[in-house]
């Protein structure tokens, strides 16, 4: 009898607490509790991922060590070329900036890349979010674009929606809450790529007169507030039938990087002031 009474008390207290957390997600106590939980849980995930990574690397480590010297020689030669290309690029960038300023155009801020590994993902939220092992301490900012590599090209993965001390939550492009200003390569028209919680994306708001073709490539638009222009998003895989009640067309887009391939991602962060001045 006593146990039942206690369990009823526990049920009432925990239910009230959970409903409070769910009802007022932006209230200060709820955010404080969430921060506290994250503070306690994050180290386990962060250091767990590091430990798992080290253990997984042991068998391949020996073979890599043997080939490392050869690769090192080759990379040294490539670095010489890259240094030259880098200085050429720097000169072009400076010229571009000067000309943009002369024309009165807005000069976009420079960003530097930060690589991070996926340390947490749940099959139940497979197309929604992942956690990566870079956070505030590494300079990750809210809404920073997250890219991946497919072949030799950079492709869109998502954006940062939550920054923790050593980790950050990436909202994937396939999440329902995600939308990216995009441009269709062949028709050169703009639209909005939105996620639907599944493996594909949908590009909406394409002008009705546009001729759409399967296989069209979709890139980020220069008007995107988050992503740099010209980053590959995916390919059109089906054209949705025109709805007479809508003033736009839409296509289904297959993301360039499948959800199962998100092992390592690149986060773009604003370049540190000191390093900009150093380059200048």
């Amino acid at each position: 009898m006593r146990e039942i009474r206690i369990s009823n008390y526990i049920l009432a207290v925990f239910s009230a607490l959970a409903l409070f957390l769910l009802s007022l997600p932006l209230a200060a106590p709820v955010r404080a509790l969430k921060a506290c939980v994250i503070y306690l849980c994050d180290p386990m995930v962060y250091y767990g991922a590091q430990g798992v990574g080290r253990l997984a690397d042991v068998p391949t480590g020996l073979a890599r060590l043997m080939s490392a010297d050869m690769e090192n020689q080759r990379l040294r030669a490539e670095l010489q070329n890259a240094l030259w290309r880098g200085s050429e690029l720097e000169a072009l960038r400076a010229e571009n900036q000067r000309l943009s300023q002369a024309l009165g155009l807005k000069v976009p801020g420079r960003r530097e890349a930060l690589w991070a590994d996926t340390i947490e993902r749940d099959p139940l939220h497979w197309y929604n979010s992942v956690i990566v092992n870079a956070g505030a301490r590494q300079g990750v900012a809210l809404n920073a674009p997250v890219l991946g590599v497919q072949g030799d090209a950079l492709v869109v993965v998502g954006r940062i929606t939550e920054v923790r001390r050593d980790a950050a939550v990436v909202l994937l492009a396939t999440d329902e809450a995600s939308s990216i200003a995009a441009v269709l390569s062949t028709a050169a028209v703009e639209g909005l790529v939105q996620g639907d919680g599944g493996p594909t994306l949908r590009m909406n708001y394409l002008p009705p007169e546009t001729e759409l073709r399967l296989g069209d490539r979709v890139f980020t638009s220069p008007t995107s507030a988050t992503f740099p222009p010209g980053i590959f998003i995916g390919r059109a895989i089906s054209i949705n039938p025109r709805d007479p009640f809508l003033t736009f067309q839409s296509v289904e887009v297959e993301p360039a990087l499948g959800a199962a391939m998100l092992h390592r991602v690149m986060i773009l962060r604003p370049e540190a002031r000191s390093s900009i001045e150093e380059v200048r």
């Binding site: 369990s7 769910l22 767990g48 749940d122 939220h125 919680g197």
Partner: protein, 157 residues
């Protein structure tokens, strides 16, 4: 339960859940380790402990996702409560009835998550047909392992 042992069980289970879902998901599927353990604990130790573990494990799961904070805590805590009540009606000492409870609890867990999402985020969180069909079986496979671990832990005392 000894508090230190309790904290160790909590952390170990949370670590296994993270490790399995991140590194060992097979075909996009992984067992809901924390749900299974909540059910097993509630069946073995009673609903009070099951509810406490369920609530805090739920908070851990909630902290891993940007979606509703508190949803998993509520659902796992209710799972602990429900199994505690069920424990008085049927014998859950054997693995077979326990597996059946886990099987049904998995569906109820998914359904409850969807309903909580519908109530607080205005969208029904649908996990997809594949987890809906396969995860109850996957979770049932985890029950014997959890039961064996439980018996082993008890034998160590």
């Amino acid at each position: 339960m000894n508090p230190l042992r309790g904290i160790a069980v909590f952390l170990a289970a949370a670590f296994i859940q993270w490790w399995w879902s991140t590194h060992f998901s097979f075909g996009g599927l992984s067992p809901q380790v924390l749900l299974v353990l909540t059910v097993v604990l509630a069946a073995r130790l009673g609903q009070n402990l099951g509810m406490c573990y369920g609530f805090f494990w739920g908070l851990f799961l909630d902290a891993m996702h940007p979606q509703l904070f508190g949803a998993d805590a509520l659902v796992l805590m209710l799972a602990g409560y429900g199994v505690g009540i069920l424990r008085r009606q049927i014998d859950l000492a054997d693995i077979l009835p326990l597996s059946m409870v886990v099987f049904l609890a998995t569906w109820l867990y998914f359904l409850a998550q969807g309903l909580v999402s519908l109530a607080f985020a205005r969208t029904f969180l649908w996990i997809g047909w594949r987890p809906w069909v396969a995860d109850p079986f996957y979770n049932c496979l985890f029950v014997p392992a959890a039961a064996v671990c439980w018996e082993w832990t008890r034998a160590q005392r």
